[in-house]
C-alpha cells in the first residue's frame, strides 16, 4: 500500500472521528450520545492548547497530557499531525483539491511554490505565545487568545455551532433539535471564509495562518527523517510541486518546517526514484529556518506582549466587570478564566439546556466566544443536577465539579452551593408587582430547596374597583444560586421581569453581595 493511501485513510478516519465526536456531544447514555466517548480528545491532543495554558497558568491541566503524544510524534517524524490527523487540515486539503484539480498543471505547480508570506504564521504564533507569557500573579497580565486561530478549537467551534447546525436543519437529530447559538453566524462565516481561501491558494490557512502548524514546524524541523531528493535521477521538472500540500519545495532545499508529510511528491515524481523519505539531510539541501526574520519576530513578540495589558485597561476584569456576563458553574475567577479558555465551545455544545452561549464582543473582545449564560435561550436555566460543562472543558477554565460541590451537599455543606449569579425582580415589569395580575411562576419553578423566592401577600384594588389578592415574589440572596430558571420561565418574554446578573457569584469574592450565607 502506498504511503499516500495510508495518509488518505488516516485523514478520512480522523475526520470521521472528529465529526462523530461532535455529533455525540450530548449528555446521555445512548450510543449516539456522550456516554464515555472522548469528546474532547482532539483538543487534548493539541499542543498549542497545552503550551498556551502551560504558559498562562504555569501548570498543565491533567487532560492535556495527550499533547505530549503529538509533540513526541512531531519531534520524531515532523508535521505528521498536519498532514494525517488535523481535521481542519483535511478539510482544507479536500477543498483545495476540489478547487484546483481542474486547473492547468502549470498553474497548479505555481500555486504550490513556497511564498514568503508563509512566515506570517510564525509571527502569529510568536504574538499569541507572547500574549500568554507575562507573569501570573494577583494582577494577571496573561491572555490566552490562541483559541481564536488554533485549528482544533476553531474547527470544533465552527462545526459544533455552525456547520452541524446547518447540516442538521433538516433532521434536527445531530445537534439536538431546536438549539440556538448566538453569534454562530459569525463563527460560520469565518469558517466559510477560511475554507474558501483554498480557492486562492491550496491550504491557505495551513500555510499562512495556522499557529499550530507553525509550532509543529518549529518542533518538527529537527526530525531524524524527512522528505529528500537525490540529485542523481532528478530532472528538475518541478512536477513534485503539483500536489505539494505544504509548499515546501521538495525538489530543492526542502523547507522542513513547511513540509506536511503528505508524501504526494513521492507519488508525483515521474522518475519514481529521486524523492523519498529517509534520514536527513536531503541530498538536495534543506532549510531548517522557519523563514521569519528577526525583525518580524521582535515585532510579533512586542505586539503580543502588549495584548493583555491593553485589553485590561478598560477595567473589564476589575472595577468595570460586566454584570451581565454569567459564567458557567465551576468557572474559575475571570482573570484565570481568560488564561484558560481556548474558546472551543465544547461546553456550549454539551449544555443540555442550551443556556450556555458563546459571548460576542459586548463584554470586551477578550471574552469573544467564551461561554456565558443567556437565560432567554434554551429549555431552562442551568439545571441543578447537571455538571456537564466542567467535564467537557479541556483546559479547566470550568472546573470539573462533583454534584455534591455544585449543590453544596455532603462535604460541601459548609461552603454551600455554587452560585453563578443573583436574580432580582424588576418590580416595574412583574405582573403581581406592577400589573395587578397574579402569577407565581418564578417561585414555583425555583429549584433550590428551600426556595430562594418567597411570596409576599398583598391586596390591591384594580382599576375596575375589584380587590385582588396578589402574591408577589421576593428573592432571598442567601439562597439564590443564579441558575436562571426563574428568568427563563417568566412570562414577560421580552424583557423578563426577573433577571439574573453575576452578582454574588462564588467564583470571585469581590463580586459578593452578602457577607454571610446560611452555611457560613
Amino acid at each position: 500500500m502506498r504511503i499516500t493511501t495510508a495518509r488518505r485513510i488516516a485523514q478520512a478516519f480522523f475526520f470521521a472521528l472528529f465529526v462523530w465526536l461532535c455529533v455525540v456531544a450530548t449528555v446521555g447514555t445512548r450510543l449516539w450520545q456522550w456516554r464515555g466517548w472522548p469528546i474532547r480528545w482532539f483538543l487534548e491532543l493539541d499542543p498549542l492548547v497545552a503550551i498556551g495554558t502551560a504558559l498562562t497558568t504555569r501548570s498543565l491541566f491533567p487532560a492535556l497530557f495527550w499533547a505530549l503524544a503529538t509533540i513526541a510524534l512531531t519531534i520524531l517524524l515532523g508535521r505528521v499531525f498536519c498532514g494525517w490527523v488535523c481535521p481542519l487540515g483535511s478539510i482544507h486539503h479536500f477543498v483545495g483539491w476540489l478547487a484546483w484539480r481542474s486547473r492547468p498543471l502549470k498553474r497548479r505547480i505555481e500555486g504550490n511554490r513556497y511564498h514568503r508570506a508563509q512566515a506570517v504564521k510564525y509571527c502569529l504564533l510568536a504574538a499569541l505565545l507572547a500574549a500568554a507569557v507575562l507573569p501570573v500573579g494577583r494582577m494577571m497580565l496573561a491572555s490566552l487568545q490562541t483559541g481564536l486561530l488554533d485549528p482544533i478549537p476553531l474547527v470544533n467551534r465552527s462545526f459544533n455551532l455552525a456547520v452541524l447546525s446547518i447540516a442538521d436543519l433538516a433532521t434536527g437529530k445531530w445537534t439536538g433539535a431546536g438549539r440556538f447559538y448566538s453569534g454562530a453566524g459569525l463563527v460560520g462565516a469565518v469558517f466559510l471564509a477560511l475554507v474558501l481561501l483554498n480557492v486562492a491558494v491550496p491550504r491557505f490557512y495551513c500555510r499562512f495562518i495556522c499557529p499550530l502548524g507553525a509550532l509543529l514546524g518549529i518542533i518538527g524541523r529537527g526530525a531524524p527523517w524527512a522528505i529528500g531528493a537525490r540529485r542523481a535521477k532528478c530532472t528538475e521538472c518541478g512536477v513534485c510541486d503539483l500536489n505539494c500540500e505544504g509548499a515546501c519545495n521538495p525538489m530543492g532545499p526542502i523547507r522542513l518546517s513547511e513540509c506536511l508529510m503528505c508524501m504526494n511528491c513521492m507519488d508525483d515524481c515521474p522518475s519514481g526514484e529521486p524523492i523519498g523519505y529517509g534520514p536527513r539531510p536531503s541530498p538536495s539541501g534543506e532549510i531548517t529556518s522557519p523563514g521569519m526574520s528577526r525583525r518580524e519576530f521582535v515585532v510579533s513578540v512586542a505586539a503580543g506582549l502588549a495584548v493583555a495589558p491593553l485589553a485590561r485597561l478598560g477595567g473589564a476584569t476589575a472595577g468595570d466587570w460586566p454584570a451581565g456576563m454569567i459564567r458557567p458553574p465551576g468557572a474559575v475567577a475571570e482573570e484565570e478564566f481568560l488564561a484558560r479558555c481556548v474558546k472551543c465551545s465544547e461546553c456550549v455544545r454539551v449544555c443540555p439546556t442550551n443556556v450556555l452561549q458563546p459571548a460576542g464582543l459586548s463584554w470586551g473582545w477578550e471574552a469573544l466566544w467564551t461561554p456565558a449564560l443567556n437565560n432567554r435561550i434554551g429549555t431552562s436555566g442551568c439545571q441543578a443536577n447537571c455538571i456537564a460543562c466542567g467535564h467537557a472543558c479541556p483546559t479547566g477554565a470550568i472546573r470539573p465539579l462533583t454534584l455534591d460541590e455544585k449543590l453544596g451537599r455532603g462535604d460541601f455543606e459548609p461552603a454551600g452551593p455554587i452560585r453563578i449569579g443573583l436574580a432580582y425582580v424588576d418590580r416595574g415589569r412583574c405582573l403581581p408587582w406592577a400589573m395587578e395580575r397574579p402569577c407565581i411562576v418564578c417561585e414555583e419553578t425555583c429549584p433550590v430547596s428551600p426556595k430562594a423566592i418567597h411570596l409576599e401577600e398583598a391586596e390591591q384594588t384594580t382599576r375596575e374597583g375589584a380587590t385582588v389578592r396578589l402574591q408577589r415574589p421576593v428573592v432571598d440572596p442567601a439562597r439564590c444560586t443564579g441558575c436562571g430558571v426563574c428568568e427563563h420561565e417568566c412570562p414577560m418574554s421580552g424583557l423578563r421581569a426577573i433577571r439574573v446578573t453575576a452578582d454574588n457569584e462564588t467564583r470571585d469574592r469581590s463580586h459578593a453581595v452578602l457577607l454571610h450565607h446560611e452555611h457560613q
Binding site: 497545552a50 502551560a54 519531534i75 501570573v136 542523481a232 530543492g252 541530498p283 474559575v332 475567577a333 457577607l515
Partner: protein, 335 residues
Amino acid sequence: MNPPGTGPEPVATRREFFLRGLRAGAAVAATGGLAAWLWNRHPPGDFGRAQASDPRKDFSVRSAGPRIAIATGRDRAAMLRRALAAVGGIERFIARGDRVMLKVNAAFATPAILGATTHPDLVAELARLCRAAGAESVIVTDNPINAPESCFELTGIGAAARAAGADVFVPRPGSFRAGTLPGGRLIRDWPVLEEPFAGITKLIGVAPVKGHQRAGASMTIKNWYGLLGGRRNQFHQDIDGIIVELAMLVRPTLVVLDGTDSMMTNGPTGGSLADLKATNTLIVTTDPVAADACGATLLGKSFRDLPYLVRAGELGLGTTDFESLHPARVPAQAS
C-alpha cells in the same frame, strides 16, 4: 526558482543520523519531564484560593504595662504632651532608631474643624515628639474612603505631617496583601495594608471621638478599618464583628483618642459644627479597648451600649473597665 545545491551531494552519515536521533529522543524526554513537572501544578481555581498570610500587627511594648492617661483642656498639643508624660513619657515607648507609623483617620476630605478626621495639630505634635525621642522616621498613613490625595490635603494632615518631618504614605492597590486573620470569620483572604509597614517598629493610632450610625461609636478600634482594602463596605453587614476582628488584628504601641470636640450626631461624617460638642478631653493609652470605653462616656454612653466593645472585652482584647487601670488624670493648667 529553487535550484538545488551546487556543491557535492551531502551524505547523511550514520553518525549524524545517530546524533539526530539522540537529540530527538532527548527532546521528547525533556518535554515529558517538563510536562510531568507542570502536571496539575496549579489546579483550576488555585489562583483565587487564599494565599493569605497572617496579617496581624503587634507593636505593643509589653514592658510598659497597661497605662492610661486622661488629659483635659483645649490645647491639643499641650494635652498630648501632658498625657504622654503621665503614661511614662514617650521615651518609654519610642526608642532611638525606631521607625514609627502614625495611623490617622483621614477617611474623608473634610476640613479639620468638622471633627471627622484626626486633627492636624495632633499629628504634627506627635510626629515632632517621636522625632525628638530619636525616631529615625515617622510615616503617616490611612486608606481613605474618599480620594486619598485630597483627603490628606484638605484635612490638613498632609501639611502638618510634612512640617513636622514625617512622610505621608498614600496607599495604592498594590500596597495590600491578602491576609487571613487566625480566628477571624470576616478577615479571610482579605487585602490588608502591608507596604508602608515594611520596617516599622512602632505603631500609634490617632483618632477622634465620633458617634457612628451603625456601630454606635467610631473611636480607636474602628480607626484600624483604614488598614483594610478591597470592597470593605461589605463588612457593614456585620459591623460589630469586623470591629472586634480589627481589635484582634492590631496591637498598637499607643493610641491617642481625641475627645476635644466629640462628634455627637450625624457620625461618622458629620458635616456641621453643630454636630460637635466640646468635651475637652484627650486620652492616651496602651489599651484601645480602655480608650474606647473611656471615650464612650464622652458620647454620653457606657461601654455596654457598644456591642463591639462588650465583645472585645469578653475576648480579652483589652479592659472595658478603664478605671481599673488607674488612669492618670491630668487637668488643664493655666499655661
